[in-house]
Symmetry: D2
Subunit: 143 residues, 4 copies
């Protein structure tokens, strides 16, 4: 899928979109990019049997991973290279495999050293998780 650019500088957008496409971990778990805007990112994974626990529900690790991905890329959309410092996820509802899981991350505060982001995670129109994370700025993205 080709990610949509919702207003990010073209070179920065291409850098981030390419980086998502080539991330080994995102590829392993099947996460891809829907869109990138200034301070926001939308990611998707089609939950399959490989993402489940033994009782056929989607594993929380996938949900935490995709929420972190959306938040980290919302930070990257601002030209910042982040490392995650803290990530906290609340699980509101379980998700079944065979459905898309979509998450939207957005930056809520951009400080000099620290950036704060939030994400919602949805499946079939139901809010299944919320997350917030803090990132440390390790430098500008050079494009």
């Amino acid at each position: 899928m080709q990610a949509e650019n919702l207003g990010v500088d073209k070179e920065l957008f291409e850098y981030v979109a390419e980086s998502v496409t080539q991330s080994p971990f995102y590829n392993l778990i099947g996460v891809s990019h829907i869109s990138l805007g200034p301070g926001s990112a939308e990611m998707i994974v089609t939950a399959g049997r490989q993402h489940t626990n033994p009782v056929d529900l989607v594993h929380g690790g996938l949900i935490m991973s995709i929420a972190d991905a959306a938040m980290a890329n919302s930070v990257r959309s601002m030209g910042v290279r982040p490392v995650t410092v803290d990530c906290s996820t609340s699980f509101l509802a379980s998700a079944e495999f065979g459905k898309d899981i979509i998450t939207r991350g957005k930056v809520i505060k951009r400080g000099k050293n620290l950036l704060f982001a939030e994400a919602d995670v949805w499946s079939e129109g139901i809010l299944i998780a919320t997350a917030k994370a803090t990132f440390f700025n390790i430098g500008d993205i050079k494009v």
Copy 2:
């Protein structure tokens, strides 16, 4: 790898160990079991290139997933079927691929409805993350 039983009832141990072996998500990300004790669990993943982000460090999603796995299995070791309610992870240091990542989860409070657990995550003798999680008890494990 055969998980070690550190004192859990034999049938319960076999149930949990088998369940870890057959978890599709654990298999996808390569997580396996080292040991299970009463209220504790130790898990391992050998970090490979498939677990990295584009800058060659292990992705935080893997670390959150393995910490959650250790905590959830520490709950299962008490005969309880858990769903994760909240999970919070702090990232203390980055981890490189090619090394083992080991995590130890333990239950710190077993309530009737809610159980609380903590986990440490280590790589090459360095503490790379700490996590805590709250689980809801959805029923006893029948073995």
Copy 3:
């Protein structure tokens, strides 16, 4: 200050508003109620010198307390008696004394046993903190 009722059943509103007025801890730290709506609550504290740390900034404990208060009362507005299970706060900016601190809490998921809420905390139009909390339902409020 008389709290405003934004659509909660009259008897429930009066019960919750009265309970806030009579809470010893809220009185100690100076927190009062602005409004209560269905699934939402707005609280205020005028930060004074008594709320500061030795470097004259408002102490994080006050901010966590008021955010928890707004979230717990957003749960009470649904007729539920909550106990806080987990509360996570991110501090985005410091706050000075002499200014009002306002927080808005809202329920984002009402489950049978667990309710999830979020809060924003503002001072002088600046977002100084965000919080999320999970509550256990210990019974209905009888009014």
Copy 4:
């Protein structure tokens, strides 16, 4: 109460102990210092009626505040001036007034910019809460 020095440089210890004694917010909520060691701090509050909610239990805001206090002072014991970035608390059991509440905070990672700490909170020998927090280093303490 005179705080005990468990091995901190004498001038630093006196600076931190004095700063706790003079903190307006600690005085408001009644928190004082038991001891300070290298990377650790122990604080106490005698829970009174003024710390309760309308159902006569100690308010979570007090518990979050004292846990944050213990963690922040464990950071100060290393000569670092901290601001809290993230603080996450889990409430394991309720506490009654009329009893002492004791908390022990310790630094688990001291990085250049970020420090990570944990705290346990006890009442009458029961673990009532656990917390973890991340602090940003805003400079050395000059003594």
